[in-house]
Every structure is written in structure tokens, then in C-alpha cells.
């Protein structure tokens, strides 16, 4: 009987089965609304300062398309992996869920590695946080995003580890769901960074 093993039978959409789960998901959507303003402010600052290279290397001299394109491809793929993870969650298949989350984390790490390489490379070319207003704005915006990716990786890893012991329950399911929302969000932010920082930085001359 289902009543006997109440925990073993997981309801459909387990992330929304309890009020706690629903609260968590709504609260997280709202948090992402605040994060949007946060990144919006950073983007606005960057756009205002992106031509102020102060005699140092400009964005046209710095940016390298193949590297950024690879990073973009990796992060977009990791976002897809997290979609697959949510699908697995809805199928209540913990094994698949863990597998797709692992793919997400590995791709996230690869993205971070590329970003660190990129930052080290730029620094060696004289593009640092204190070299110019452009440098300050670039490292703050892109670094904030990178910090979000790093936090997301640690977060998903801790969820994966605790789920090994706890299994997929109405308590752990919302945690995965919310972590995937977060992962999508930082992916969307990257799409804007790719456009505003890199594409506009490579093709653009002065704007205004």
C-alpha cells in the first residue's frame, strides 16, 4: 500500500508538492528578479565605461572570438544538461538526474577554466581592474557572472552529495529545481555578456 511507504511514492512534480517547495520556487523567481536589476546595473555601468581604456588595450585589441565562442557553446550546452536534469526529476529518475547534473557541473567547470585563462591572458596584456575604467567595469561585470557560475557549481555539487544519502524526496526535489532555475539565469546573463561585452566590443567603434 502506498500509505505504508509514504516517502517511497513521490508525487508528480515533486518540487511543487509541498507548500515549502512552492514557497521556495516562488521566492527564487523573485530573487532572480532582484538579480536582474543587479546585472542590469552592472551592464549599464559597463556600457557607460566601455570606451574608457585610458590608453591601455581596447576591447577591439583584446577580445578573441574563438575563445569566447567556445565558452558560450559550453555554457549553453550546460544549460541544456540542466533541462535534461529537470526532465529526469519529473520522471523521478534519480540516476538520470544525477548524471545530467554531473554533466552540468563538468561543463560549468570547463567554462570557468576558460574564463580564468582569459582573465590571466588579459592581465598579461596590461588590461587589469586598476588600469582603466574599462578594466574596472569589465572585470566587475564578467567577474560577477563568473562568481555566480562558481557558486552554482558548489551548490549543485552539495545537492548531489546530499541526495546520495537522502534520495529524491519532496525536500530535495525543490532544491534541484531551484538550482536549475539559477543555472538558466546565469546562462541568460552570459548571452547578454556575449552580446554587449564581446560582440559589441569587437565590431563596435565608439558609441556616442
Amino acid at each position: 500500500m502506498a500509505t505504508h511507504h509514504a516517502h517511497a511514492v513521490l508525487p508528480d512534480e515533486p518540487e511543487k508538492a509541498t507548500l515549502e517547495g512552492k514557497n521556495k520556487i516562488l521566492g527564487f523567481w523573485l530573487f532572480l528578479g532582484g538579480e536582474t536589476v543587479l546585472f542590469g546595473s552592472l551592464f549599464a555601468t559597463f556600457i557607460a565605461l566601455r570606451d574608457q581604456a585610458n590608453g591601455g588595450p581596447t576591447s577591439q585589441q583584446l577580445f578573441d572570438m574563438p575563445l569566447v565562442a567556445a565558452a558560450t557553446l559550453i555554457l549553453l550546452t550546460s544549460s541544456m544538461a540542466s533541462v535534461m536534469a529537470v526532465l529526469a526529476l519529473h520522471k523521478k529518475n534519480l540516476k538520470q538526474l544525477q548524471a545530467w547534473m554531473t554533466v552540468t557541473v563538468i561543463l560549468g567547470l570547463a567554462f570557468l577554466a576558460l574564463e580564468i585563462y582569459e582573465f590571466v591572458h588579459y592581465t598579461s596584456m596590461g588590461h587589469t581592474i586598476s588600469a582603466s575604467a574599462f578594466g574596472s567595469a569589465f572585470y566587475t561585470l564578467v567577474g560577477f557572472h563568473g562568481g555566480h557560475v562558481a557558486f552554482g557549481i558548489c551548490w549543485i555539487l552539495s545537492l548531489q552529495l546530499q541526495t546520495v544519502k537522502k534520495g529524491l524526496t519532496v525536500v530535495t526535489a525543490p532544491k534541484f529545481y531551484v538550482a536549475c532555475l539559477y543555472w538558466h539565469f546565469i546562462d541568460v546573463v552570459w548571452v547578454f555578456i556575449f552580446t554587449v561585452v564581446y560582440l559589441m566590443g569587437m565590431i563596435g567603434g565608439k558609441v556616442g
Binding site: G34, L38, T45, L49, Q162, K166
Partner: protein
């Protein structure tokens, strides 16, 4: 989870307060901490007025004066006004919507402790090399290393930590109000204070990230050699002004909207009438919240944004007078023909209406860009924002505290002391700030530590400083009243013949609030039942076991971690930064790994049956 962990944990003394996740206790914590900061900010104000009582005094000196005005503004806005608002929101909103708790009790406690430690960090600056002295707006380049003291570092990190607490508090209330309403409590049946808290929380959510970014940029410039605001390296100082006011103007409405809610509750209750124009009140509150995001540049008319920008921002600002006017008339029409009782709470509410209207009128004057070029940076501006913030918000907070004190503490405040409190504060307030309008029009600049004799500024300044005595005595009487109340008569569940759900349960409420979730059958839920001749609310569920969240020390510890890391940043001791932030993250992981089973309160432990009126 394990249903066996069903007994309430042992609770006693300090440990209980450090670990509580009960919204009612967190409300009291906010009130005490906010009250202490209010006294600190008030002391700073007394010193400011003492310095300005006669021309050419040097009681505190120029640098200390700069520190005093900076800390007075920062403390009053971030550490006194906002926490007292959060105190009332915590104490009242869950009760008004018929909820047993907020959506995130743990996050609620975390929000409080972050605010508290942020505030403490900011105020330790007095003992560690001097307080911030770049004004509460901390404009660059004045706030950069070359032009200001290390105090600004305390401003940056203290506000960052406190702001984080406010942000998560806002999210908590949004989710609570959306998801936790009792059956039948539709949005358009919510008490107006809950509506105001809802919209305020939305403003917090979308306004605070802007100051977060602003503070990060300033921190990078001051501590890590950034160039955001350094014109020599291509930086742009206007970015700070925009970010600060994109946050700062909604912040004004974050302060005043809950006050509007309080006034609406108090005026309706003490007129024994339904609030006039409830739906237009909701509409006006939402519209003010929306327009509040569209007007930030009216603080920057003299920055040089150009005629088009100034015109548009001036017009948008004037538009706000329309929904605000709706509110003023709704309050007047609520009182019209009502059975008005002039309790202390209602005195403050009635005193609020004309005082706030004066502040609104000077606001319209300031919204006219060419005129603003004359008023800008004078005492006219100081008079204006003290009329809306003290004459508006502080009157409203006193009103709300007198009104909900019986519910929060289960004790009645003394009405005689209360009336002395009102009249002293009211008269003192007008004495202090009314003359400042004219001082401003005569050209007295704000933020300057003295003025010369023989320019016609003596009388106004003297009266202004004398008025402080009234406000000080009024505030002292409030504290006296709190202690008198503690020994005074026990409060009934419904001492004011209230209309809303919080008056349907005992004072103070039991920790589970409602033994049975009530069924809401209309606006002014309790009044509906009273008019139907019922003894109390109709329960929406049978009496049963109530699940409660466990207390936790983690919110306190997480805030301590960031507090410690703050000093590490300021003194460039990076191991301390890593230790502090690592400790906070460690606490987050601990919270995630260990599920909170909570505990249960069984029906036999619940005093009385059903919900009483």
C-alpha cells in the same frame, strides 16, 4: 519527515532570542534594535542642532559635523526607519492574512541579524578612526580615498551587509503574502497595511540591488584600486549618482507606503467606519510604487542632464501627487461622519495628514526644475524631506506602535503619557522644521557646519534648535510609556474594537497564531463576523496538530561571519575575509545538509478552542 520530533524545544532567555525564527519575536528584535539606532541617530541630530543654535559656534567642529550629518542620515534611514517598519510588518502581516508564520522563518531571522550586524559595523566607525563623512548620499569623488576618511569604508560594508538583510526580508514578505493567505483572503480582501507591505516589499526587491552594485563599485574604487568614479582614469562620477538614486528614490516610498497603510488602518478603526475608497487606496499604493521608479533623476536636476530629461523627470514627479492626493482625501472621507476616538494612535494619524500634506506641497515645488535650481542644497530641501520622513513616516510609526503595542506585547500603553508624547513631539517637530523652509529660501546651504551672524539666519536657527527639545522629550516619554506599559494592565484580544484578523486572536498571540486557520468572508474579516453576530472567526479547518519550524543559531552565525569579513576587507587582511565568508558559506552548507524536521504542537496543548473574537 520524522513525526516524532513533536515537542517544543526548551527555550530560555538570551539563547531563545538569538535562535528564534518566530516572526513575532523577530518583530520585537527589529523594534528594539531599530529603536536603539533611532536613539543614536537622534543624539546625532541633537548635536547638529546644538552646533547650529547660534552663528559661528565650534561646539563640534567641521569634521565632526560632517560625520554627524552623514551618520544621522544613514542611521535614521537604514538602521532606524527601515527596521521599525520591518518590526511592524513582522508583527502584523502574518496575523492580518491569517497565517501561522512567514514563508521563510529561517530567512526572516537571517534578514534581521544581517541588518543588525551591518548596523553595528557601521557604528563601530566612531571608535575606529572616525565615522563616514561624505554625506548619507556619499557622492563620488568626495567619497573616494583622496577626499574622505576611512569611515566611508564602514559605510560601504555596513550598508552592504544590512542591505542584504533587507533584500531577503522583502522576498520573504512577498512570498508570504502571495502564498500564505488564509482561505477566502483574496487579494482584494487584504487589509491595506498588508497591501502596503506587499508593494513595499516589491520595491525593496527591485531597488536594493542597485545600491548593492553602487556599493560594490565604490568598494572596488576605495579598496582594490578600481576606477569607476576616478575621472583621471576614464571613470564617471555620475554613475554613482544614478545608481544611488535609482535605489534612493524608491527607498523613500519603501519608507512611506507602509506608513500610509498604518494610517489607513488606524483612521478606519478609530472612525468606526470601513476605509473609504479601499480599491482606490490599493490602486494608489500600486501606482505610487510604480511611479517611484520613474523619478530618481529629480534628485539630479542640477547635475546637468539637460532640459529634456529634467522636464520628463519633473513631470513624472508631479504625477505622484495624484495618487497621493487620492489617499489624503480617502482618509478625510473615512473620518467624515465617523465616530472618531482620539486615542494616541489616532492623534498621530490625524497629525500626520496635514503635516505630510505640507511635505507633499514642498515636494511639488521641488519637482519644478528651474525652481529647484534655487532650492537645491539649501535648508528648504532639509525641511521638505523631514516633513515627509519625520512628519510623515515617524508620526505613522508612532501611530502604528501605539495601535499594535497591545498585540505585540499583550500590554496596554498609558494614554495620558501617550498624549503628552504626541503633543510634545508634534509641536517640537514643527518648531524645528517649519523655520527651515525659510532659512533655505534665504539661502542657507545644508551640510555646512556654521553660518555667519547678521544675515537674518539667527532667529530661524534658534527656534529650530529649541524645537529639538520637544521631539527629545516626546521620544523619552515613549520609552517611559513602554516601561509603564510593561507593568500596566493586560491587553484584551481586541482592545480597539478592531476590524482585521489580528484582533481575532489573543494578545500577545500564541506562537502558532491561529489554533485553527480562519475562514475569511469579506474585507475587514473580523468586522464581517461581528456584524453577522458571530462570536469569532469561522474556522476553515478542524483543530489538529500544528507543525512549527525549529529555532536555529545559524542566521546569527552567518551574519557574524560577514561582519568579521567586513573588517578583513577594510584592513586588507585577506585571511580574515576568507575565514569570515568561508564560515558563512559553511553555515549555509550546514543548513542545506541538515533537513529541519520542525516540531508539532498537539491539539491538547492548544489553549482554548477555536478562534475567539
Amino acid at each position: 519527515m520524522s513525526a516524532h520530533a513533536s515537542h517544543a524545544p526548551n527555550r530560555s532567555g538570551l539563547w531563545d532570542w538569538l535562535t528564534t525564527v518566530d516572526h513575532k519575536k523577530i518583530g520585537i528584535l527589529y523594534l528594539i534594535a531599530g529603536g536603539i539606532f533611532f536613539l543614536a541617530g537622534g543624539l546625532e541630530a541633537i548635536l547638529i542642532r546644538l552646533q547650529l543654535i547660534y552663528p559661528e559656534l565650534s561646539i563640534v567642529g567641521a569634521r565632526t559635523f560632517n560625520e554627524l550629518i552623514t551618520m544621522h542620515g544613514t542611521t535614521m534611514i537604514f538602521l532606524a526607519a527601515m527596521p521599525v517598519i520591518f518590526a511592524l510588518m513582522n508583527a502584523v502581516v502574518p496575523l492580518q492574512i491569517g497565517a501561522r508564520d512567514v514563508a521563510f522563518p529561517f530567512v526572516n531571522a537571517l534578514g534581521f541579524w544581517l541588518f543588525f550586524f551591518g548596523g553595528v559595523l557601521l557604528n563601530t566607525s566612531w571608535f575606529l578612526g572616525g565615522a563616514p563623512d561624505a554625506g548619507w548620499t556619499s557622492y563620488a569623488t568626495l567619497s573616494l580615498n583622496q577626499y574622505s576618511h576611512s569611515g566611508v569604508d564602514f559605510y560601504v560594508l555596513g550598508l552592504q551587509i544590512a542591505g542584504l538583510g533587507t533584500l531577503i526580508g522583502g522576498i520573504n514578505f512577498l512570498v508570504t503574502i502571495i502564498n500564505m493567505r488564509a482561505p477566502g483572503m483574496t487579494f482584494m480582501r487584504m487589509p491595506i497595511f498588508t497591501w502596503a507591505s506587499f508593494i513595499t516589499s516589491g520595491l525593496i526587491l527591485f531597488a536594493f540591488p542597485a545600491i548593492t552594485v553602487g556599493l560594490v563599485l565604490l568598494m572596488f574604487d576605495r579598496l582594490f584600486g578600481g576606477n569607476f568614479f576616478n575621472p583621471d582614469a576614464g571613470g564617471n562620477v555620475i554613475i554613482w549618482e544614478h545608481l544611488f538614486w535609482i535605489f534612493g528614490h524608491p527607498e523613500v516610498y519603501i519608507l512611506i507606503l507602509p506608513t500610509f497603510g498604518i494610517i489607513s488602518e488606524v483612521v478606519a478603526t478609530f472612525s468606526k467606519k470601513r476605509l473609504f475608497g479601499y480599491s482606490s487606496m490599493v490602486f494608489a499604493t500600486a501606482l505610487i510604487g510604480f511611479l517611484g521608479f520613474m523619478v530618481w533623476a529629480h534628485h539630479m536636476f542640477t547635475t546637468g542632464l539637460g532640459a529634456v530629461a529634467n522636464t520628463l523627470f519633473g513631470l513624472a514627479t508631479m504625477l505622484i501627487a495624484v495618487p497621493t492626493g487620492i489617499k489624503i482625501f480617502n482618509w478625510l472621507l473615512t473620518m467624515w461622519g465617523g465616530q472618531i476616538r482620539f486615542t494616541t494612535a489616532n492623534l498621530f494619524a490625524v497629525g500626520f495628514i496635514p503635516t505630510f500634506t505640507i511635505g507633499g506641497m514642498t515636494g511639488i515645488m521641488l519637482a519644478i526644475p528651474p525652481a529647484d535650481y534655487q532650492y537645491h542644497d539649501t535648508y528648504f530641501v532639509v525641511a521638505h524631506f523631514h516633513y515627509v520622513i519625520v512628519g510623515g513616516m515617524v508620526f505613522g510609526l508612532f501611530s502604528g506602535l501605539y495601535y499594535w503595542w497591545p498585540k505585540m506585547f499583550g500590554k496596554m500603553m498609558n494614554e495620558t503619557i501617550g498624549k503628552w508624547n504626541f503633543w510634545l513631539f508634534f509641536i517640537g517637530f514643527h518648531l524645528t522644521f517649519f523655520p527651515q523652509h525659510f532659512l533655505g529660501l534665504m539661502g542657507m546651504p545644508r551640510r555646512v557646519y556654521t553660518y555667519l551672524a547678521g544675515q537674518g539666519l539667527e532667529t530661524g536657527n534658534f527656534i529650530s534648535s529649541i524645537g529639538v527639545i520637544g521631539m527629545t522629550l516626546g521620544t523619552i516619554l515613549f520609552i517611559v510609556n513602554a516601561f509603564v506599559a510593561a507593568k500596566g494592565p493586560k491587553a484584551a484580544a481586541d482592545p480597539w474594537d478592531g476590524r482585521t484578523l489580528e484582533w481575532a486572536i489573543p494578545s500577545p498571540p500564541p506562537e502558532y497564531n491561529f489554533a485553527q486557520t480562519p475562514l475569511v468572508r469579506g474585507l475587514d474579516a473580523l468586522w464581517v463576523e461581528k456584524m453577522a453576530g458571530n462570536k469569532g472567526m469561522t474556522p476553515a479547518e478542524p483543530l489538529g496538530s500544528i507543525h512549527m519550524p525549529s529555532p536555529s543559531i545559524l542566521p546569527f552565525l552567518m551574519s557574524v561571519g560577514l561582519f568579521v569579513a567586513g573588517y578583513g576587507f577594510m584592513y586588507h587582511v585577506y585571511p580574515v575575509v576568507i575565514l569570515g565568508i568561508g564560515f558563512t558559506f559553511g553555515c549555509m552548507v550546514a543548513r542545506s545538509l541538515k533537513d529541519d524536521p520542525g516540531y508539532h504542537i498537539e491539539p491538547e496543548e492548544i489553549e482554548g478552542k477555536g478562534v475567539k473574537a
